[in-house]
Symmetry: C2
Subunit: 267 residues, 2 copies
């Protein structure tokens, strides 16, 4: 496997990240997961826009243009003979001395990996509501795809222990925010709804497309709203999947519904 | 400089962290900052206990015994000819494939660096209250020294922009939780008080010692309480420093006070 590291393709087995990289020591960075088809990254402009919005929040310079990013992503696909797959782009603030304050002239680390698409897995999801942690809607990081993913990891581990496929995260006010790796949509009284970004929902790229395509509405949602949903589904760049139960209680009739079927092909 | 990486001392310039390390890609790890004197790590048992408590929360195996950790820390000091200094220990879940769920048999990364102590800097601190983010007391991570440090970095950047030395973080309920890198103590009506861990305070090693030595009390604190404090100071393993103003308003008479002077030598 070859990876793109700071502008060059290198063997993954030999690629070296500096142990002083602030991504590793402080979680000081961002990432994007990008679907690729036909050897090209999909929705490049939307991913670049989110990356730059996150970099603004972090005061982190993005060392390359969107065009150069696009080329690096394509080169990574080509070097690994991946046409249909998934790209992961990681941007950290690079190495730094001890302490929280970034160096005045950071040398960011830009890392891109590619993997072939897994066998398409449209299997419906049985979810739980995470009890061990909450998403912090009071932090601007809830609106950035940053590499501080431990709350999501804790919730995902809890889901696995409880025999579920994924976990829904509540925000600190007890509202639904999304799952550990996707945005959440419900269909309530025929209206497609999704938690607002202000409630801690990540501004997902596919979320935005489904919002537009479905004429959906951003609305604060409580766990009790799941009982009145006829459908639930989750979205990210890797796909749209139906949620058929939460904490053991079926959503609607416990099967993927017509709104899901209508939009499942978007990603 | 030599660093301790997975059991061996290697040149920092050559030490290689795998780009697939979950510490780098997901912030999946913990750290400790440990004061060293006379070539030995101080308060090793307390640091090991906190590391293991965090590892329990993360479901992360600690690959070595406390004794082996102590030896590795001493070797790192010796290899760098540091007797009086600071050690940083980072433990991540190691490399993993795509996705949040950890590999079933993780190979954790253990990284130790040493630096000589900076010229002792007991200078008093002018602080601000961070407005851009909040600490999430609803997450068990608020009680772990994990490498998801971006909220702290955002607050530290805000402090720098506002011409301050550090920032106090509020929790999501508006209570004082601590600073970006230290625990907070106030003296109110002659009583030494500090935010409880339930409010998002990190269970600091020096915090515990000051709590015991000062007969201090854990108490939820609001920003308004700063106005009635005769003193404020912050503690971490690198030292105890007086806070002489917050958001431009002096604490007490705006000078380091007698309680600070009594305990400043603890670390």
């Amino acid at each position: 496997m070859l990876i793109h590291l700071n502008g060059a393709l290198v063997s993954a087995a030999e690629a070296r990240v500096d142990p002083a990289d602030r991504g590793l020591t402080l979680g000081d960075g961002l990432f994007e997961t990008i679907r690729a088809r036909g050897g090209r990254p999909l929705r490049l402009a939307a991913h670049c826009a989110r990356l730059r919005a996150g970099a603004d929040v972090l005061d982190l310079p993005v060392p390359v243009s969107d065009e150069a990013l696009g080329r690096a992503l394509e080169e990574t696909l080509e070097a690994n003979a991946v046409t249909d797959g998934v790209l992961r782009l990681t941007l950290t603030r690079g190495p730094g001395p001890r302490g929280l304050l970034p160096p005045p002239q950071p040398r960011p680390t830009l890392l891109i990996t590619a993997a072939a698409a897994e066998a398409s897995s449209p299997s419906p999801i049985r979810a739980v509501i995470a009890t061990k942690t909450r998403r912090n809607e009071h932090s601007p990081l809830s609106r950035c795809k940053c590499i501080n993913y431990l709350d999501n990891i804790l919730a995902r581990l809890e889901a696995a222990k409880r025999g579920a496929d994924d976990a829904l995260l509540l925000n600190t006010a007890g509202r639904l925010a999304g799952t550990t790796m996707a945005n959440l949509f419900l269909v309530i009284d025929g209206v497609v709804v999704t938690p607002p970004v202000a409630d801690g929902a990540l501004p997902g790229v596919i979320r935005a497309e489904v919002l537009a395509a479905a004429g959906a509405e951003e609305r604060s949602l409580k766990p009790e709203d799941l009982a009145s949903a006829s459908e639930a589904f989750i979205t990210n760049c890797l796909g749209i999947r139906a949620v058929v139960s939460v904490d053991g209680a079926p959503i609607g009739d416990g099967r993927p519904g017509p709104v899901f079927e209508k939009f499942r092909a978007i990603p």
